[in-house]
Symmetry: C2
Subunit: 344 residues, 2 copies
Amino acid sequence: MTENTLMNHQIVLNSRPNGAPTPDNFRAQSTPVPMPASGQVLLRTLYLSLDPYMRGRMSDAASYAAAVGIGEVMVGAVVARVEASQHPGYRVGDLVLANTGWQKFALSDTNDLIRLDADLAQPSLALGVLGMPGFTAYMGLLDIGQPKAGDTVVVAAASGAVGSVVGQIAKIKGCRVVGLAGGAEKCAYVVNELGFDACIDHRSPDFAQALATACAKGIDVYFESVGGAVFDAVLPLLNTGARIPVCGLIAHYNDTALPPGPDRLSLLTRTLLIKRIKMQGFIIFDDYGHRYDEFFTQMSKWVADGRIKFKEDIVDGLENAPQAFIGLLEGRNFGKLIVRVTKD
Amino acid sequence: MTENTLMNHQIVLNSRPNGAPTPDNFRAQSTPVPMPASGQVLLRTLYLSLDPYMRGRMSDAASYAAAVGIGEVMVGAVVARVEASQHPGYRVGDLVLANTGWQKFALSDTNDLIRLDADLAQPSLALGVLGMPGFTAYMGLLDIGQPKAGDTVVVAAASGAVGSVVGQIAKIKGCRVVGLAGGAEKCAYVVNELGFDACIDHRSPDFAQALATACAKGIDVYFESVGGAVFDAVLPLLNTGARIPVCGLIAHYNDTALPPGPDRLSLLTRTLLIKRIKMQGFIIFDDYGHRYDEFFTQMSKWVADGRIKFKEDIVDGLENAPQAFIGLLEGRNFGKLIVRVTKD
């Protein structure tokens, strides 16, 4: 290797966003690649996952995880190869899932690494259908949503990394599945490729009416990852005994203040009461980490059998991660958004 | 019996309330006592239960049960004796739990009757600690709230029929229990008689601060029956993984419009998400009717052993039911509110 290739490229948090993130909230920097000490490995990032939750880490408001500090490398899950090892359990070339964030190289003491099959045909799947988003879909729908055959299941962000899997599992369980997505192209994909029964464009002016028509028997499970106007349209359609797993609220991540009134907090609690609804937030690895193996075994089989399909939206080059992430919050991606950081 | 005693006295819904109910929403009327046809029994009401849910039945807004029609007898659970029987399974003098509402006499086809021990020492308990309110407390806390030893459990309306039982069960389960009640007298009762660890007066000007002080480790279970300013004070204190059973929202029953903004609906859903909270409404007999026997056996034992205490607020005379009910919605009762309709 030349000295050039041993420079590490990183994207750090340059400033905290006020509302939607902008490119100047991020800063690229280069530093020498560090060498592993005893017990460490040096990882080379192949794929970086971009996910909506990262918006929360850019703020210092209280959330479920610590904020990224100004000047610190942006957080994120990656698929990486061991480039150099001073750890007896890892060899150069090993493939791992790591949490080393938006950078080309990183040291790891290996404690939080998950080993992947070194010959995995499509290692980026470990960031999508076989990783955190798929796991979120699986546990949120099956454990909190408790879908029964014949239930109507409504899935926000239906063409996305989580929603696409939620809907397909619900179909396997015999439910009627209605997706919500932004634009005709995504809706067509959701119905024609993923096999949902219907998909409503949440940007269309008659969205609420179209959703009501598609859910003639009401909604038994609403898988929430969006909030905002989508939730407003869902709320009056919820059936008695409905279940609402909440894994995200992307419509609110850029909020700088609460919207104007009236204050509908009591409308929501009253709806939960009179319709006996369960609404439950969850953070996948915190709440269900102990069931990852169960998920991975089942989902690998569904994927191998062609019962769960997926779509990746791959962006080349770490330098393009900030723009891709900004687009993700605006719904501009189509499929699981992943940055190819270095070719394998 | 003279003809006088064979007149039935009833309280019917005279008009729908706009906000808080007023006496003219009710009307007393007398009609001849009907005679049972074959398969029927005539019931004489001993005790009528007054409960907050009845406010919902006075409105024709959508709720979990049908509204009482104008001119119809107000609904409610009663303890009654069989006065005359044309049903082979019931004899004069049998004691039953019935749903015959605000009247002295009523016919029943016996389908929804629950038989009580004819010699029950205190039959009114079947409307309180051993009836719907106690059952609501038991299942809501244990099944939805899932209290663990050491948890901090906060109980709204802590001196009331449901809250008093919730807190005492939570103490049996080893929790730290903080009650909320209106006024110094109720708070003293909750701590000194019921054994809660603390009780905060929700009318005091520094209520939110006092609650925060009493819940130094945050709140793991909040048993909700109130809403309004009480919930507002609870919301920021909820711990990660908290559970919120919702059995009522008495602060909102008289609302005629949503309060002014900002709109905090997304604040609530965001809190559920980032703290991984479960919030669940329930209607006791609809959701848990199949577990009534389990409840009754356990609660009877706790009451007999003196581990669950209770207080009744008994009002004499059916004609006083409207004023007593209006007072219930304002928190003027102290203990389970019951109308003694006829002396046994």
